[in-house]
Each structure stands twice: as structure tokens, then as C-alpha cells.
């Protein structure tokens, strides 16, 4: 009886160790970059109209806070920028890191652009912090740090994924198959690291720089709803009409409560 019990233990221990040694069946495999290039096709047309504009902030934006990175000595050593990026305010109250895109009015489908967009983890920050991507376009996530990161995307319409990059220089290619504004990224190792990507079925989007400007070019003439999204201040929309070959200017102003 006792001998049988001991052998049962040995069996359980072997099963445990064997399962621990197996490699993880990871999340979905890397997708293949599509062959077709950007620019009108399958019904979606490119035009020569443009919507340009500026995003500003009214009121005083909260001061950037210094991120304490002392949970990882590598971050502490290599970080060149340790301020939070929630509010990037330039001259004349220009507001950066605002994602501006055509929300409504685009007809037809647009194949994903050939260019690969890169999300770089460098200095324990995501670069860029706010950016856009077309449905099916390849996003390459790079770990440029000499420490480990995990890439944890928490979309709602697309599939969630969480993948580790323990070695400097590792890359990971991903695509999103559904439009979604915005898909958050976070690193659970370094809780301060976060980023957002706007995934759209067309190429008419931009992110404002520190000067607050944006440029939605190559639009076909038409009536559009343009939305501006800020991670702390929410969204604003405007109706915009742009004629053939014309440039229309719009401006957004976010109020700090």
C-alpha cells in the first residue's frame, strides 16, 4: 500500500516537472505583411483635399510628474525622459499627443499601407506614445532596452495579447483586424509605461506634435466628421466640408476642468 502511494507521488512530481519544462503555447502567431500598397483601391479613393488644423488647451494643464523608475535599475540608468506625457503643451497653448482622425464620411475600403509602424520600448518608455495604424497594417514592437518588457494590449474589439520580450533587440509583429479607437498598451513590469494606438480602416489620421498641428491630406472631397482624442481630456468632434483640391482648416480646443 505504502509503496503504491510513494510511486503515485513520484508520478505526480514527474508530471509537474514535465509540464513546467514545456514551452508556452503563445498567443496568435505573427501575421504576414500584406502585399498591397496604400492608396485608393477596392472602392476607397484618394483625393487631393486636405483638412489641417490645430489643437489647443484652455486653462492650465497639470504639471508633468516625475516617474519613479527605481523598481528597475536599468530604467533608472537608461531613461532619458522621466516626465509623464499626459499633457504635452507647446507655445500658445498648443496641445500635443492628440489623435485626430476622420470618424465618419469615408466610403469604400482602403487596403493597409505597406509601411511598418514601429512601437519602440526605449528608456522604459513607449515611443511614440500616441499613434495611428490601419486595419491590417503591420505594427512592429521593438525592445531597445537592456531589460525585459511585456507588451500587453487591452483592446475591446480586437484580440487581447500579452507577450514577453526579455532580450534587448527582440521584435514582434502584430496586426489588428478591427477598427478601434483607441487600443491601450501597457507594460505590467513597469507600471508607468503606457501607449495608445488608433486603428482605422482608412489612412486619414494624424497625431499632433508639440505645436498642436495636424494634417489629414489626400482626402476625397466630401463632408466628414473629424474627431480629436486626448487620453486625459476625452474627445471632441467637428463637421468638416472640404471641396475638391481645397484645404479646410479646423481647430479643436480642450478645456481643462
Amino acid at each position: 500500500m505504502q509503496r503504491r502511494t510513494i510511486w503515485s507521488f513520484v508520478l505526480v512530481a514527474i508530471l509537474f516537472v514535465t509540464s513546467a519544462c514545456e514551452s508556452r503555447s503563445d498567443v496568435a502567431p505573427v501575421s504576414v505583411v500584406p502585399e498591397s500598397g496604400g492608396g485608393g483601391g477596392s472602392g476607397g479613393t484618394m483625393g487631393d483635399s486636405t483638412v489641417i488644423g490645430t489643437v489647443t488647451i484652455e486653462g492650465t494643464a497639470p504639471m508633468a510628474e516625475t516617474i519613479r523608475m527605481n523598481s528597475d535599475p536599468v530604467c533608472l540608468k537608461e531613461a532619458t525622459m522621466t516626465d509623464t506625457e499626459y499633457y504635452i503643451v507647446g507655445e500658445e497653448n498648443a496641445l500635443g499627443n492628440v489623435f485626430v482622425y476622420v470618424k465618419e464620411g469615408i466610403s469604400g475600403t482602403y487596403p493597409p499601407a505597406n509601411e511598418t509602424v514601429t512601437l519602440d520600448q526605449r528608456g522604459c518608455r513607449y515611443n511614440p506614445h500616441i499613434f495611428g495604424l490601419q486595419v491590417g497594417q503591420t505594427l512592429q514592437i521593438v525592445n531597445s532596452d537592456d531589460t525585459l518588457h511585456n507588451i500587453h494590449a487591452t483592446p475591446v474589439a480586437n484580440a487581447e495579447f500579452n507577450t514577453g520580450q526579455p532580450i534587448q533587440g527582440m521584435t514582434l509583429d502584430r496586426q489588428f483586424d478591427q477598427p478601434e479607437v483607441m487600443v491601450p498598451f501597457k507594460c505590467d513590469v513597469h507600471g508607468w509605461m503606457n501607449s495608445y494606438v488608433g486603428v482605422l480602416p482608412h489612412p486619414f489620421f494624424a497625431t499632433t506634435g508639440p505645436d498642436g498641428t495636424f494634417d489629414l491630406s489626400n482626402l476625397p472631397a466630401g463632408n466628414y466628421v473629424v474627431e480629436a482624442w486626448h487620453e486625459m481630456l476625452g474627445t471632441q468632434t467637428q463637421n468638416v466640408t472640404v471641396g475638391d483640391g481645397e484645404t479646410t482648416e479646423v481647430s479643436f480646443s480642450f478645456n481643462v476642468g
Binding site: I6, S19, A20, R24, S71, P73, L148, P166, V189
Partner: protein
């Protein structure tokens, strides 16, 4: 038998450390800092470099390592019980503990691979408490005091105490499950004020988070009143029985501490240390209530002991009162 008892005490301590480490993982939001399982960033768990244990990895991988130690100690426990324990039901409890710890490890892995779905995470938290209760119960069952029936060969004849102590662990466990649900649905600050929700006795609006949060607060009141009532009852009627008075007093002190930690968790906006201590003390409250219940109902196990008794296990000398405290 003496060393087995000390071994299980070691497992008890390790289990509490493990629960605390688990609380630290959730309090620091590090549950997904290691995306793979059972490996860690592709490394075999025990060969993962210490230099890479940074940020959230320190908490999550640390939790896994402690869990492995507890798992191995539990395997050792079952082997030890199988070889030396004459009581069949105690040996069976050892096997149940092993099944629980294996299931617990699997739940922990699944919750990582499926991005912390609340049902799996809550089950992981709930089973952790049951495992802890099992281990503490085994500590009690192998103690010299238990075998000497705490020098009380006759029933207490106190039906009120009997009912209170049977009810208490159940109510505390329900309260812990509500707390785990709140924690794993990120509803800890759904009501950001303390003591009154939004300045009122009852929340003016109801969301899922507010409901769990409010239920946990009501549960805290129920548990506190129940424990303090039990403590008062023990101290009034059985003050001289130290094997009952001591855990009752400890329980009263622990529930006051736990109530304060709950309030401070809200007021500090879930400070990591306070939030983690709330988990650890909650588990300690539960097992202290279980110890008290077992001591009160010791006589009910008599028949089981007699049924299982084998010649070599028989009667030892009745320990002194201080021995019976063990």
C-alpha cells in the same frame, strides 16, 4: 508525530507568506508581468535569472517561486502523513490539500494565460483560503493539545458557542469571496469614501462595482459584530478555558485590525502595503476562527478517532495546560 506537527506549522507559515505574496501581486497590478506559464519569459521557472526580477516580475515570479515551495512542502506532507499518520481521515485531508495545491497552481497559470478573467482569478483567491484552512486544520489535528482533547473529555454544553463558531468561518469566507470579487473586478475604490458611501447610508446609484464594494462593507460589519459577540461570549462563559479564550481574544484583535486596514485601503487609495496587509490579515482571521471552531467542537471528532485508532497510536499522557495551548 511531534516533528510532523512542526513541519505542518512550517507549511502554515509558508502558506501565509504565499497568500501575502498573492496579495502583493494584485495590489501592484503585476498579475500579467510574466506573460507565460509555467515558464517565465521562456526560462524554466527555477532558472530565471535573479537580475531580471525587476518591477512587476519580482512580485509575480516571486509568487510563483513561493507557490512551488508550498507545493513541494505539501507533497512532503502527504508522504509524511502516509507513512506515520494512523488516522485515515487525517491522511485523506493531506491528499485533499495536495489536490487543492495542484488545482490552485493550475488556476494561477490559467488566469495568466487568459488575461486574468475574474471567475478564474476569484476561484484562485478562494481556493487559496481553503488550502490555508486545510493546512491550519492539519496543524490543529496533529497538535498535542488536540490529541489530549485539550484536557476536556466532556462536551462544553454550550449550544450558543457551538453555533456561533460553526457560523463564523462560513460568514468570514463569504466575506473574503466578496472581497476577492471586488479586488478582481477592480471595484476597490468604486465607493471612494469611507465610512459613508457618497455621504449617504446607501449608495444613490448602483453599478456592479458599487454593489460589490457596498456588499463588502456590509459584510465587514456583519463579520465584526459576529466575531466580537463570539469573543464576548467566550470571555464571559469560558474565561478560564485558555484554549478557547486565547483564540477568541486574538480573533477580536485581528478583526479590529482588519476593519481598520479595510478603511485605510480606501482612504489611502489602495496603498500597496495596506492593501496587501488587508489580504493577509483577512486570511489570518479566517483560520483563527477555524481554530476556535475546531477546539470548541473537539469532542465531535472523538468517534472518528476511536474508529481510526490503531494500537501504536494510543493514549499518550495528558499534557499540561501549557502544552495544550500548542
Amino acid at each position: 508525530m511531534h516533528w510532523l506537527h512542526h513541519y505542518i506549522k512550517l507549511l502554515t507559515v509558508a502558506s501565509l507568506v504565499l497568500i501575502t505574496a498573492g496579495g502583493l501581486v494584485t495590489s501592484t497590478d503585476s498579475g500579467l508581468a510574466v506573460p507565460d506559464w509555467p515558464n517565465t519569459y521562456g526560462y524554466f521557472m527555477f532558472s530565471f535569472p535573479l537580475s531580471k526580477m525587476v518591477g512587476g516580475v519580482l512580485y509575480e515570479h516571486g509568487h510563483r517561486l513561493i507557490a512551488s515551495i508550498v507545493g513541494m512542502l505539501t507533497i512532503g506532507l502527504v508522504v509524511w502523513l502516509s507513512r506515520t499518520e494512523p488516522r485515515t481521515w487525517v491522511r485523506r485531508l493531506g491528499w485533499i490539500a495536495l489536490a487543492a495545491v495542484i488545482t490552485q497552481g493550475t488556476l494561477g497559470g490559467l488566469t495568466v494565460l487568459y488575461f486574468l478573467p475574474p471567475p478564474i482569478s476569484i476561484s484562485h483567491a478562494g481556493l487559496a483560503q481553503l488550502f490555508f484552512v486545510l493546512v491550519v486544520s492539519l496543524t490543529v489535528f496533529t497538535s498535542p493539545g488536540w490529541r489530549a482533547q485539550y484536557s476536556r473529555p466532556h462536551p462544553l454544553n454550550d449550544r450558543t458557542l457551538s453555533r456561533l463558531t460553526l457560523l463564523m468561518p462560513f460568514v468570514i469566507y463569504c466575506q473574503i469571496l466578496i472581497g476577492a470579487t471586488m479586488r478582481h473586478t477592480d471595484a476597490g475604490l468604486a465607493i471612494p469614501e469611507f465610512p459613508l458611501p457618497f455621504g449617504l447610508l446607501v449608495p444613490p446609484v448602483w453599478t456592479t462595482g458599487i454593489t460589490f464594494n457596498f456588499a463588502h462593507r456590509i459584510g465587514a460589519l456583519v463579520v465584526t459584530v459576529l466575531i466580537l459577540t463570539t469573543m464576548a461570549h467566550v470571555l464571559y462563559h469560558h474565561r478560564s478555558v485558555r484554549t478557547l479564550a486565547r483564540p477568541a481574544l486574538l480573533l477580536g484583535a485581528l478583526v479590529c485590525l482588519q476593519f481598520s486596514l479595510g478603511a485605510l485601503t480606501v482612504l489611502s487609495e489602495k496603498h500597496v502595503v495596506i492593501n496587501t496587509a488587508h489580504v493577509a490579515v483577512g486570511a489570518t482571521v479566517l483560520v483563527t476562527a477555524v481554530v476556535l471552531a475546531l477546539r470548541v467542537h473537539r469532542i465531535s471528532f472523538r468517534d472518528v478517532d476511536i474508529h481510526d485508532r490503531q494500537p501504536e497510536t494510543c493514549v499518550e499522557s495528558v499534557p499540561t495546560d501549557s502544552e495544550a495551548q500548542a
